[in-house]
Symmetry: C2
Subunit: 307 residues, 2 copies
């Protein structure tokens, strides 16, 4: 019922980062793509199997140093149902390697619809007397524009299966200002969303002092992270925007508490596409990803100490 | 590049309603469920095939009187990848029967991620030199909390394939007040979102006077619909909340312009579960759905005239 499961993995590995698994086929090295094109032709099936091998290779290369992975649903839906089948396999494989899996789905719907999402992504789907786990992630990202009705149905599955959610609060993209930076009285819209996130979470805290409704807070706005950290002392932060989007370790340090707890920083392309910078055509994609992941860990840990 | 495709179908059928295809297995009559349980046991596969037969039966019963259907992605994701495969089949079948398909996905993500969603749901996915249509809906619902970055990538596919999107503005659920009714200066958050929706749409109008970025506006708040209709004269409205959620034909009339154009009203459970009220155990589910759909059409058309 809290972020303890994730925080423990972070403490064990002394690494507060999460690796995105957002593979487009263009991110997959040519030698892997060629293998499946030879087998399946230039098809969705070939793309799906190439990405799966790439995902598993990344997971193998990262699983002893990184605590968590974040597959972005969009890149799997992009490939139709075959992509979703491969997403199920990817989540299972990551969990089998001890990784915590945050499915980045940013869903936001209400009542029975939200329950259907929650059953599929965190809980169990019921058919007659039987129950089935489908995507079965450890945690999902959610969009709270529709209010509590979009969050509460997920909290029942969080309680039953010891899982968590992250709600979007302040995102790291340029046009986040369009709505999120508008003023509601003396608060920004994103601060109103922050207050709601705390309401939805309730009072129950884990042993690290965090509840079960985390917040997505963009790393490109360090001042905002500082303010939000102070206002939301029991809210675990997922921090996108490091690297490719312009956020630095100096920026993201403010997302952590004095024990180096309470936040995890995402990098996707920086790790997945690390091989594009070594000049070896991707034959060393695992080593390249691992090296970048270690650099990122060490970069952030120059500013914080995880106790 | 506008809602002309949908509006034409509405004018042809003189029916401004859209039928939800949000099938949970509990909505499927027992005789259909039993058939597939006998074949596949109590499995996800059995549920998926039962729902597909039910969906096709509903489409057959409705396709000459209703212009559009709205499958809600949550109910398909609920069944894992098998559900997504069946969603692809459902969308294809509905389109083959001349229906306009709004995929109710409420996605909201940015940049390359939004492009990946758009390619999967509206456009084409590229593998090497080949392009593939996967979900290939006519229109999707989107969540604009992250601003223009969440909408613009979809508009490229709208232009290329003559498709549209609906952005969430004021939703019909109780907790919509949590954020959407907060005041930003002299405007509600939902009005700010309405203004953004008009900005994103640009200036291009179709022959009925509507652009290509519609708005979701809940039917349980008729005063708000009246205000939004006046403020957003070129924005096509998707109106949920009729029937089960408490909206009436008298309420939803304000979503339409003086020619009876510019809006479509959704009903999901009311039509899908109509058979539960006839006392025939669902053997008459097609007739029951059709009768309720006709009632709904006639109910709304007492208040508006479609020219």
């Amino acid at each position: 019922m809290s972020f303890d499961v994730l925080q423990k993995k972070i403490v064990e590995k002394k690494n507060p980062t999460i690796a995105g698994l957002d593979a487009r086929i263009e991110y997959v090295p040519e030698h892997i793509r060629a293998k499946y094109t030879a087998q399946y032709g230039e098809t969705l099936q070939a793309a799906v199997e190439a990405i799966f091998e790439f995902n598993c290779g990344l997971i193998d290369a990262l699983c002893d140093i990184v605590p968590a992975v974040k597959p972005q649903s969009a890149y799997y839906e992009n490939l139709g149902w075959r992509g979703m089948e491969m997403l199920e396999r990817t989540i299972q494989y990551a969990k089998s390697k001890g990784l915590y899996v945050v499915a980045d789905i940013k869903r936001g719907d209400i009542g029975a619809t939200a329950s259907a999402y929650s059953e599929g992504w965190l809980g169990r789907t019921t058919v007659g007397e039987s129950q089935f786990a489908t995507f079965d992630a450890d945690c999902v990202t959610l969009n709270g524009y529709m209010g509590a009705d979009a969050i509460n149905p997920f909290l029942q599955d969080c309680e039953r299966f010891d899982k968590c959610v992250f709600a979007l609060v302040r995102t790291s993209n340029k046009s986040a200002v369009d709505l999120q930076d508008q003023m509601c009285g003396d608060k920004h819209v994103y601060e109103v969303m922050g207050d709601l996130t705390m309401q939805w979470a309730g009072e129950t805290l884990g042993e690290y002092g965090y509840n079960r409704v985390g917040a997505v807070t963009g790393a490109t706005y360090p001042e905002q992270i500082k303010t939000l950290r102070a206002q939301m002392p029991h809210t675990f932060f997922l921090v996108p925007g490091y690297g490719a989007q312009g956020g630095t370790a100096a920026d993201v340090q403010y997302a952590f508490d004095e024990n180096g707890h309470g936040a995890i920083v995402n990098s996707s392309r920086g790790i997945m596409c690390a091989w594009k910078k070594t000049g070896n055509n991707g034959t060393d994609y695992q080593e390249a990803a691992r090296n970048v992941a270690i650099e990122m860990r060490d970069d952030i840990c120059r500013y914080i100490t995880i106790r």
